[in-house]
C-alpha cells in the first residue's frame, strides 16, 4: 500500500516547477519533505491531488499499483489520498458539519447514519480540542489561521485516508495551535496511515517525528535520510545544502 511518484515533471504556465521528482510513501510511514520557498513543495502537493492548474509533462503518480496521473481529484480522494491545504478555500453557506458529512458520504456506498456521524465527529473534535459550535460555522469563513488548520486536520481525522499530504500545516500557527495539530496528526498516524509532511521549517518535526526526511531544491529531491537530516538542516541551513548539491553537480 503506497504512493509512488516516478520521475515527475510538472509545469505551470510554461514554467517547469518539478523536474524529475521521485518519492515513495507507504502506509505506516511518516515522511518530511523540506525545502525553501519556490522549491516546488506546494506544486508537488497539488499535483499529487490532481489540481487542473498544474500540468504533468512527464512521469507518473501511482497509488496502490494504480496509475492516477490523469485521475480527477475526487477519484484520488476516494482512492485514499488526502491533502491538508496551506491555504484552504472558503466555502460560504456550507457549514463545517454539512461539509464533513458530504465528504464522508462521498467515500461510502450508503450514507452514514446521523447518529454514527455525530459520534465520529464528537470524538474527533475532542481529539483536536475543537469547540462544539465550530461545526455550525461556514467552512473557513472568517476562520483564523489556526482554526483553518484545525479544520483541515478535522477533515483528515474524519476521512481517514491511507496517505495524507500536509502542505505547510505548521505555517502561521502559534505554539499552542501547533501542539494541538501535531498531537492530532500523531494520534491519527499509525499502521493505517502514511503521511507526507511538507514544511519549510524544522519546528513541526519536534512534535511529529518523521521516519524519513527528504530535502527538495529546484523541483527535485536532493538529499534523503532519517530524522538526523532535519537536525543537520536546522544547523546548516538551505544555502549549505544548495552549495553542496552544486559542488556535487560540478564534480
Amino acid at each position: 500500500m503506497s504512493l509512488e511518484i516516478q520521475n515527475l515533471h510538472v509545469r505551470i504556465e510554461e514554467r517547469e516547477i518539478l523536474r524529475g521528482l521521485n518519492l515513495s510513501v507507504s502506509k505506516g510511514e511518516t515522511h518530511a519533505l523540506m525545502g525553501p520557498n519556490g522549491s516546488g513543495k506546494s506544486t508537488l502537493a497539488n499535483t499529487i491531488m490532481g489540481n487542473p492548474a498544474y500540468e504533468v509533462t512527464d512521469g507518473k503518480i501511482v497509488f496502490n499499483g494504480e496509475d492516477l496521473t490523469e485521475a480527477d481529484p475526487d477519484e484520488r480522494a476516494r482512492a485514499g489520498l488526502f491533502m491538508a491545504f496551506q491555504y484552504p478555500a472558503t466555502i460560504p453557506g456550507v457549514s463545517v458539519a454539512n461539509f464533513l458529512r458530504m465528504a464522508v458520504n462521498a467515500k461510502r456506498e450508503e450514507p452514514i447514519k446521523v447518529k454514527e456521524f455525530g459520534k465520529l465527529l464528537g470524538e474527533n473534535m475532542e481529539l483536536l480540542r475543537i469547540d462544539r459550535q465550530f461545526t455550525s460555522r461556514y467552512l473557513n469563513e472568517g476562520f483564523s489561521g489556526g482554526e483553518k488548520k484545525r479544520a483541515e486536520i478535522l477533515q483528515l481525522a474524519m476521512l481517514k485516508p491511507e496517505i495524507a499530504v500536509l502542505d505547510e500545516t505548521d505555517s502561521g500557527l502559534d505554539i499552542d495551535a501547533l501542539r494541538i495539530v501535531s498531537d492530532g496528526v500523531n494520534a491519527l498516524s499509525g499502521p493505517d496511515m502514511g503521511s507526507l509532511i511538507i514544511t519549510h521549517y524544522t519546528r513541526i518535526l519536534e512534535y511529529v517525528k518523521p521516519d524519513f526526511v527528504h530535502i527538495m531544491l529546484d523541483g527535485r529531491i536532493v538529499r534523503e535520510g532519517g530524522p538526523e537530516l532535519a537536525d543537520e538542516l536546522e544547523e546548516k541551513g538551505y544555502d549549505f545544502i544548495r552549495e553542496e548539491v552544486a559542488a556535487a553537480d560540478a564534480g
Binding site: E55, R76, R78, A89, P92, A103
Partner: protein
C-alpha cells in the same frame, strides 16, 4: 386589450379613466440602460392576449398543482386569483375576529370604500408608464389586506396570482396596509404552469407599514415554462419606527421587468431588503430597485444575489437614494451575480444618490463565476465536480436564504434552486469543465 370594467364607485372610475387616457397616450416602451442593456417587448403579441374569467374553486385542494405545492400548509388567509378572477378566498375566522381584512380589492372598494380610497395608489401612479397605466385601468379581482392597529397575525397571509393558460392577460393590483404597531407576514406568489405560448402579468403592489408596524413581506415569482411577460411595479412605504423585511424572489419568467421601491418615509423607519433570482434557458430579467430614504434617522440593509444559466439575461440595478435633509441615515446595498453558463449574460449595478450630509451609505457589486480553487478543494475531499458546483451555488444563495427568517419559504426556495441546478447540470458541468481545461492550457 380588454374593455375597462364598468366603474362600481365613482372615485375609482375616475382613476381608471385617467389611467386609460395615460395608457392610450403611451407607446409600448423599450427600456434601455447604459446603451447596451435593452428590455424590449417586440416579441410580445399584445393584441393576441385577453383577460380570462374562471369559476371559483371550493378549497385549496382544487388549486392547480403548481400553486398548491408552493403554498404554506396553514396560512392565516389565502386569496387566489386565476387570470382575471378571484377563485378562492379563505380567511381564518380568528383573523376576521381580530378585524383583519383579506379580500379581493374589488370587494374592498365596495365594502370598505373610504379605507381603500385613503390609501389606493398613494405611492403608485398611472403616470409611471404604459403598463402601470394599463394595470390601473384594467385590474380586476385584486387583493386587499388590512391589519388593524395593535393586531398581531402569526400565520402568513398569502395571496396568489396564477396564470396557467397561453393568451392570458392578467392585470393585478394588491393594496396592503399594516396598521400602527401591528405585526404580520405577507407572502405574495406569482405562479404559472408549463403551457406553450405567451401571457402577460401587469402588476401593481403597494404596502404601507404604519408607525411602529412590523411586517415580513415576501414576493415569490415562479412563472414556470410558459412565456409569461411580467411587467410590475411594487412599492413599500415604511412609516415612523416601523420595520419591513422585504424578500423578492424571482425564480422564473420569460421576461420580467420590475421596479421595486422601498421607502423609509419617516424617522426611525428601518428596512431589510433581501432579493434573490435564478434565471435559466432564454429568460430575461430586468430589475430596478430603489432604497429611498425620505427622512433622517432611517436605516437600510439590502442584499441581492442572483445566478444565471442557459442563455439567460439578468440585469440588476440597485439604487440607494437619500434625499436632502435625511441626515443620520445608515444604509448599505450589496449585489452579487454568478454566471453558470458561457452563454448567459448579466449585469449587477449598485448606485448611490446622496443629497445630504452626515449619513453612512455604502454599496458594492460583483459579477463572478465559480471559483476553480473552491471546486478543487471540494474535489480533494472526494466530492464530484458537479456536486461541488451544486453545493457552492446553494451555499452562495444560502447566505441570502437564511436572512428570510421564514422556514417554509426557505425550504421552498432551496428546493426550487436545487431543481434548477439539476436541470442545468450538463451545461454547468460543461462550463466549469471548459474553464478547468482552459486553466490547464494556460
Amino acid at each position: 386589450m380588454p374593455d375597462s370594467p364598468s366603474p362600481s364607485v365613482d372615485w375609482l372610475g375616475e382613476r381608471r379613466k385617467a389611467a386609460l387616457d395615460a395608457y392610450e397616450a403611451e407607446p409600448v416602451p423599450t427600456w434601455r440602460r447604459s446603451g447596451f442593456w435593452t428590455t424590449s417587448l417586440r416579441n410580445l403579441d399584445l393584441d393576441a392576449l385577453e383577460t380570462r374569467r374562471y369559476a371559483p374553486v371550493g378549497s385549496a385542494d382544487e388549486l392547480p398543482a403548481a400553486v398548491r405545492d408552493a403554498l404554506d400548509d396553514e396560512p392565516g388567509a389565502l386569496i387566489v386569483q386565476r387570470g382575471a378572477s378571484t377563485i378562492l378566498l379563505e380567511v381564518d375566522p380568528e383573523l376576521t375576529a381580530q378585524g383583519v381584512i383579506v379580500m379581493p380589492l374589488e370587494q374592498a372598494v365596495a365594502e370598505h370604500g373610504e379605507l381603500v380610497r385613503e390609501w389606493y395608489m398613494r405611492r403608485l401612479s398611472e403616470g409611471d408608464g404604459k403598463f402601470p397605466a394599463a394595470t390601473a385601468a384594467f385590474w380586476t379581482g385584486g387583493v386587499f389586506i388590512h391589519v388593524p392597529r395593535d393586531v398581531r397575525v402569526e400565520r402568513p397571509i398569502q395571496s396568489v396570482y396564477a396564470i396557467d393558460e397561453a393568451g392570458t392577460a392578467q392585470y393585478a393590483h394588491t393594496l396592503a396596509i399594516v396598521g400602527e404597531n401591528a405585526e404580520c407576514a405577507i407572502r405574495e406568489y406569482c405562479l404559472g404552469g408549463d403551457f406553450d405560448g405567451q401571457a402577460l402579468h401587469a402588476g401593481a403592489f403597494e404596502l404601507y407599514a404604519r408607525p411602529g408596524a412590523r411586517a415580513k413581506l415576501a414576493h415569490f415569482q415562479d412563472w414556470g415554462r410558459g412565456e409569461v411577460h411580467d411587467i410590475s411595479t411594487k412599492r413599500v412605504e415604511i412609516a415612523r419606527d416601523a420595520f419591513v423585511s422585504w424578500v423578492p424572489v424571482h425564480l422564473g419568467g420569460r421576461l420580467t421587468k420590475q421596479t421595486l421601491d422601498i421607502v423609509t418615509a419617516e424617522q426611525g423607519s428601518d428596512m431589510r431588503h433581501t432579493g434573490l433570482y435564478f434565471t435559466e434557458r432564454d429568460e430575461h430579467l430586468d430589475l430596478f430597485t430603489t432604497d429611498l430614504h425620505e427622512a433622517g434617522h432611517t436605516t437600510g440593509d439590502t442584499v441581492w444575489k442572483g445566478a444565471l444559466t442557459g442563455e439567460s439575461r439578468a440585469s440588476y440595478e440597485g439604487l440607494i437614494e437619500i434625499v436632502a435633509g435625511a441626515q443620520e441615515t445608515h444604509t448599505y446595498l450589496q449585489t452579487h451575480q454568478m454566471l453558470l453558463s458561457q452563454r448567459a449574460k448579466g449585469d449587477a449595478i449598485p448606485s448611490l444618490i446622496v443629497k445630504t450630509d452626515n449619513v453612512s451609505a455604502s454599496h458594492g457589486g460583483t459579477v463572478g463565476e465559480l471559483d476553480e480553487d473552491q471546486i478543487f478543494y471540494m474535489m480533494t475531499r472526494g466530492i464530484s465536480r458537479i456536486e461541488a458546483v451544486r453545493t457552492l451555488v446553494e451555499g452562495y444563495f444560502e447566505e441570502v436564504v437564511q436572512r428570510l427568517d421564514d422556514p417554509g419559504l426557505e425550504t421552498l426556495i432551496r428546493r426550487r434552486i436545487g431543481e434548477k441546478l439539476l436541470a442545468a447540470e450538463d451545461q454547468v458541468k460543461e462550463f466549469v469543465g471548459h474553464r478547468a481545461g482552459a486553466a490547464q492550457e494556460a
